[in-house]
Subunit: 406 residues, 2 copies
């Protein structure tokens, strides 16, 4: 398709390990760490389980695709990606003591700003957008979110990120200050991030244990299920703690389309409504809050992506906790209320992503990454969406959410 | 709605604890156990965590709704349920030593057969179906699936269940013989169950740990997320072990609509395709196997239920492992292939359920159970389904799958 007619494509889920960060990992003798293998190649070991036996032992190869900007741009050009909003990959600074984390966050944020802002050669950009703005790289900053850090030091990092022109949000794991995202100690951080207008990209790292049997399945289950389960639990806890009631302006973008949260949201709502301990805690039915979140479009399938849109589209029907019961009558009386033809408000909360440089092609596959095409196909394949919906997900939502036109 | 015009309603997810079983729990001083509380009422404590502090401490009240058949029939009549296919509730016989488990399974199966077959008074039945067959109660039997049991003893129990006229399947947790559902030791059991034409109802019990933060949310997260995650992991492992390749006739009915499996199935397929260790292991793309399974309709929301139908409807598109790549071209060239108007083959794999007697109404709510109405509403609310699709899910699929017309 000629560049002039194809929609703007913005990748909001694309990672780097900066040179500074990889050096941090090279100096370590415990996971996470980077080691040199017998054949001279470097390998990155992120999780304790990766040191064990079996197919996932000794981590994964790590090379320039993780830190070389030219490789990132080449990947973008191959797939027609106009703009990337990059983020430090997991496990961020989780493994550092507080004082080192504070210094590393500051250094990393400056490094990432330079990575983005010093790329001025927009001639290679196919799209008029990037050619016009001369900006193809934006980023999420990092915060020193580790146990024992002073909250004021985290708030200083928020201000640093706010002041860096190419940084439009922060990337965050699920541990918070060590006690999860429902920790009351996180409150001033949520407040500051929301006030700064920064988008919080919530991403898993630790995974949920999938060893419910003895067969070795490599990375398939930790990545396929453990990762999305971690995000699902963390965000469900955050919502149940009332964080979105207290911080309606907090902008949370959830990795991997929030994992299983959309598919289990009505079940969660019912479990909450049936539990005297929590049923009166939130201002709204649980499903309402799914309309307050943003989702990357990293689902790998159109039916799964459609579900995300549908649960966001319906969210306002659940503003009241009693709406759930009223729903019974609505379904029975007015079925046409359920899915207005051609009306997909939820589409405004979904943003294309690739998860680069993870899920690279296997040997013998072509230049285009299958994982990228799967996610582009998912957007192309959602039943009912027209070009307008697809254009929003592919790039326009990101322009709005991150203010990329500025 | 007059009885003669409403569709047959069959509940395939409805539990009992028989008197024999409750007596087993009363004799125990470790979980699972039934204890008498200070106010004289009995309480059932199923999980270690329920003994701890917090809102979920000391389990839940247990009374006649768990074992009294008259209560089950009253519940059925209140909600217009014509037929129930009951199952022993978790944790089944998991806590017994092998010899006791073998004897208990045999006794329980006879007891459940009597529970069902001695109910001959179909006059109270509103539907012509139940009045005609005089049968309103069918059941899943139990197997002595505990570590250390002889496989032959399990196979004898399969034959016992096959020989009992009201037993049409077996209920099974996720531990198998103690090593999960991907344990090679389970092979002869899968083979025997498939040969006997029995339906396997796979149900969670242990849950996946949701304590990813410190806030106490009662039962909401263990039930809302921990349960469906457990089922998802267990079935993903079973598929990855090739069980459905080797036993294409095995009929697995998955509790809570297979939890997060439908929503994460394309992600799993991609993770598998990108992992050299597992990418060539299965005969088909992972998504193909979702079309080989059955699902209860216990999702509590129409959008979630629609997803289950869609992933089953699409399953045959993924017969080949290479289909995933061909899909790219299909989406781009022929969008109309994706969702043929009014064609929902997946609907034949979905069956209404209630999870009775769990999720009872809270104080002050009416006779009808909100949890039941949520699941009926979900069926009523799926966009695109007509009366024919709804009738299949509400009862006709169960008649076919369990041979209830016989």
């Amino acid at each position: 398709m000629p560049a002039s007619t194809r929609p703007l494509l913005v990748d909001v889920h694309t990672h780097i390990y900066t040179p500074t960060y990889v050096d941090l990992l090279r100096k370590r003798d415990q996971v996470p760490k980077v080691v040199r293998s017998n054949d001279g190649d470097e390998r990155m070991i992120l999780l304790k389980e990766e040191e064990g036996k079996g197919a996932s032992a000794s981590g994964r190869p790590i090379g320039p695709q993780y830190w070389d900007r030219a490789e990132k741009i080449r990947f973008m050009d191959t797939h027609g990606i106009d703009v990337s909003v990059i983020s430090l990959a997991n496990p961020w600074l989780d493994f550092l003591p507080p004082d080192e984390a504070v210094h590393a966050a500051s250094a990393l944020n400056s490094e990432v700003q330079a990575y983005c802002s010093s790329y001025g050669d927009a001639q290679a950009a196919e799209s008029s957008f990037a050619a016009q703005t001369k900006k193809r790289l934006f980023a999420f900053g990092s915060l020193p979110l580790v146990p024992g850090v002073k909250v004021d030091e985290v708030l200083e990092a928020v201000q640093q990120v706010k002041g860096l022109s190419h940084l439009r949000g922060i990337v965050m794991g699920t541990k918070g200050l060590g006690k999860g995202l429902d920790d009351p100690e996180m409150e001033p951080i949520y407040e500051a991030v929301a006030a700064a207008g920064l988008v919080v990209f919530v991403h898993p790292h630790y995974g949920i244990d999938t060893s419910y049997g003895e067969q070795d399945n490599g990375h398939a289950l930790p990545l396929g299920l453990g990762f999305p389960f971690e995000t699902t639990i963390a965000i469900a806890r955050l919502i149940l703690a009332g964080v979105l009631d207290r911080h309606p302006d907090l902008k949370l973008l959830l990795a991997h389309s929030a994992g299983a949260l959309p598919a289990l949201s009505s079940r969660l709502a019912s479990c909450i409504a049936h539990d005297p301990h929590v049923k009166d805690r939130l201002q709204h039915d649980f499903r309402y809050y799914l309309g307050q979140l943003w989702y990357d479009a990293v689902t790998y399938g159109p039916e799964e992506l459609a579900l995300v849109e549908r649960v966001v589209s319906r969210a306002n029907n659940y503003e009241s906790r009693d709406e759930q019961l009223a729903f019974v009558d609505r379904v029975n009386d007015r079925k046409d209320l359920l899915a207005p033809e051609g009306h997909f408000p939820g589409v405004e909360r979904i943003l294309f992503g690739t998860d680069h440089p993870f899920f690279p092609p296997l040997e013998g596959e072509g230049d285009r990454w299958r994982s990228v095409d799967e996610n582009l196909d998912a957007i192309a394949g959602v039943a009912g969406w027209a070009d307008g919906e697809r254009a929003r997900v592919m790039g326009l939502n990101a322009v709005d959410l991150f203010g990329l036109g500025i």
